[in-house]
Symmetry: C2
Subunit: 403 residues, 2 copies
């Protein structure tokens, strides 16, 4: 894959339209019901469901666990074919036998976040007190609370500690929270394309999406369940998100100024561009799989994320035991490399062993979802190397079976 | 003004809230009714109104005319205080006595585009055939047709040729069309923060705005006049536009992660950020002054803009007589400097005298709307120098009365 002629993959294409087979075959998601959860905002959830997937085998010493945290629109279906959609998990390129996170070596866990809509408790879940969906009675949740819910899941699974916690974007922020809030449970941390705190531009783009949803007449203060969804608002929110996830170069290469089809008599305007068609398709597809209220809750949790939150870096990073591999992408203008560099500077100042990789890719923020051998190798070599350092014995580096 | 501590002005603040007085005092806009207009798409307009403003005095030789073309949300009110709003025109920083475009020396004209909603004929104008607004019966118009309508206005005003045509963003694209479609009428051309053709990312952001408007239940296929406006859709469109006009640096400096106010009991979420409040305000203000259908028509005209449009550059630039000053801003990621450089390469290859300035500013695309001495001086020196070259005698370079 060269920069000159990128073959856009990952989130840039509808994988189901291609003959894509996962080495993992069909994989499933389970749900754990966990005891009551009280949020910082005073919300009381009598129980929470957390949907999760496990891949690979837990070692007898329980020392080979890799936790993967998903991004805004992700879910617990990390890799392998989802039987209900026929589509591969969102990180199938990077998780599987012989892949970056090698399921022959590691026990890999991914769970849907609290507040989400992929099987975990969120605004669309039934509130046992009323028998109706929580809707906007659901308490605001923070990324720290999503991590706390994941920690409860690991307790439930009797996983004492993590060889690694990783994720891109919102997943990377959760990985950072893991390393700082649960320092005694995290050996290594791989935050990808993320930041120490959402900045004004990141908040602004999210707010555009929220306003699109909340001003849709069907939103009805969030009480739209059993009625028409605020689908147009959610579609617009997804469209604006999509544009920010891509680089202008990637969009130029994929779409340029190509027209989707000749003008039709019913068209308001001539020249229906392919990129317009693509965005409309992405918006409409998203509506079928994502709850608008979850979109509000998760984007607001992202915007409220601030790892230091007025605390001195010394206090936040002092107890941390993890070693870090920080990855960013040079074409990512939404979570720009400068934000990762700022994180790296703080980690190094705290004397935490940190490797930083700013990869050259043409794909923008979506780069972490896309097939990329350099990215794969970096993660695989870090994980196998760290396992060897920790346990004296090696896990076998993944054969480069990754096509 | 230093890069370290920018004092954001121009479009970044509501100028009416500050004690801002224009050296031009109160200025007005006139409307010219021009004979029938046939569009490329086959639309027939029995007449068109073009709203325009003139500032300064036309020289007896009629050789000191500067035409300024406005951007997407601009209008004919270029400079001086608008009596109906109490606010200065959109380029008051740069047009006036002693300013970049010195009204003591030049006769300055600015007209609202065909298809707009600032006094020129557009979708919200009355269709004389029906007595009701055109709405979406208004024919799609192109930037070339907007320029053709301006040329008709100049004929009406008996202005044979232009010392200069300039504008930022959509205004810059019109300036380029002037130089290529009317080569015998243009002495110099100053395209600012623009491009040779809209690229996929620019189309994508516009399409998000259009979808927000067209999926608003109040849009009703554009026939909302006399009924509730699709105000929420237009507000979301304006919000996404605003984010793209600013740099992340400018937003960070102006807003950072500051909260607008303490949380209220009715807030769905804690932490209402200043940048959210700002965007909501911008969206709501825009609804009061802009027609949603015009927003659709103008953004689509922008997206369809392609100066070469499959023609060889030799054919397009061959007849051009103008000399060029091309300006871009290094922090502008929406109309990135690379697009201006591409234009400059073509102009130079066509042996057209071209000066290129890529200014260092922290403000993003909005830089051309903001007080900036370097920008002002560059334009003023170019205009006075070119006038001297053309006419043997000088106009006096503007004293730097610009504060």
């Amino acid at each position: 894959m060269t920069k000159a002629k990128p073959n856009l993959e990952g989130d840039l294409q509808d994988q189901a339209h291609h003959e894509y087979s996962s080495e993992l075959g069909v994989t499933t998601v389970q749900v754990a019901r966990l005891p009551g959860f009280r949020t910082q905002s005073g919300g009381d959830l009598p129980f929470i469901d957390i949907a999760y997937q496990t891949l690979g085998r837990l070692s007898p010493q329980r020392d080979n666990v890799v936790l993967v945290c998903h991004a805004l629109s992700g879910d617990a279906h990390l890799a392998g074919i989802n039987p209900s959609t026929g589509r591969p998990g969102w990180w199938d390129f990077h998780v599987g036998p012989g892949k970056a996170i090698d399921t022959d070596q590691f026990y890999v866990i991914c769970s849907n976040v609290l507040g989400g809509c992929g099987g975990s408790t969120g605004p669309s879940s039934i509130n046992p007190a009323t028998g109706a969906p929580y809707a906007t009675d659901f308490p605001p949740v923070t990324l720290r609370e999503m991590v706390r819910a994941q920690a409860m899941l690991l307790d439930h699974l009797e996983i004492p500690r993590l060889l690694a916690v990783t994720g891109g974007s919102m997943g990377g922020m959760q990985a950072l929270i893991w390393a700082t809030d649960h320092p005694d449970r995290v050996d290594t941390c791989i935050p990808i394309a993320c930041c120490l705190a959402h900045n004004a531009m990141q908040i602004a783009f999210n707010e555009v999406g929220r306003q699109a949803i909340m001003t849709d007449v069907n939103w009805r203060e969030g009480r739209y369940y059993g009625r028409p969804l605020p689908r147009h608002g959610l579609a617009v929110a997804r469209m604006v998100g999509h544009v920010t996830y891509l680089s202008d170069y990637a969009m130029h290469e994929k779409f340029g100024r190509r027209l989707q089809r000749p003008a039709l008599p019913e068209d308001l305007f001539p020249d229906f561009f392919s990129v317009e068609s693509y965005l409309q398709y992405q918006g409409e597809s998203f509506v079928k799989r994502f709850d608008p209220n979850s979109y509000l809750y998760l984007t607001k949790a992202l915007d409220r994320f601030d790892l230091l939150n007025q605390r001195p870096a010394r206090e936040v990073f002092g107890p941390v035991q993890a070693r870090f591999l920080v990855i960013s992408f040079d074409s990512d203008w939404l979570y720009a490399p400068e934000q990762s560099r700022e994180l790296v500077r703080l980690l190094k100042r705290a004397n935490l062993p940190t490797t930083y990789l700013n990869l050259t890719t043409p794909y923008g923020h979506d780069s972490f979802l896309i097939r990329n051998q350099e990215f794969s190798r970096a993660i695989n070599h870090f994980l196998t190397g760290e396992y060897r350092k920790l346990h004296g014995v090696g896990v076998r580096p993944a054969a480069e079976r990754h096509p």
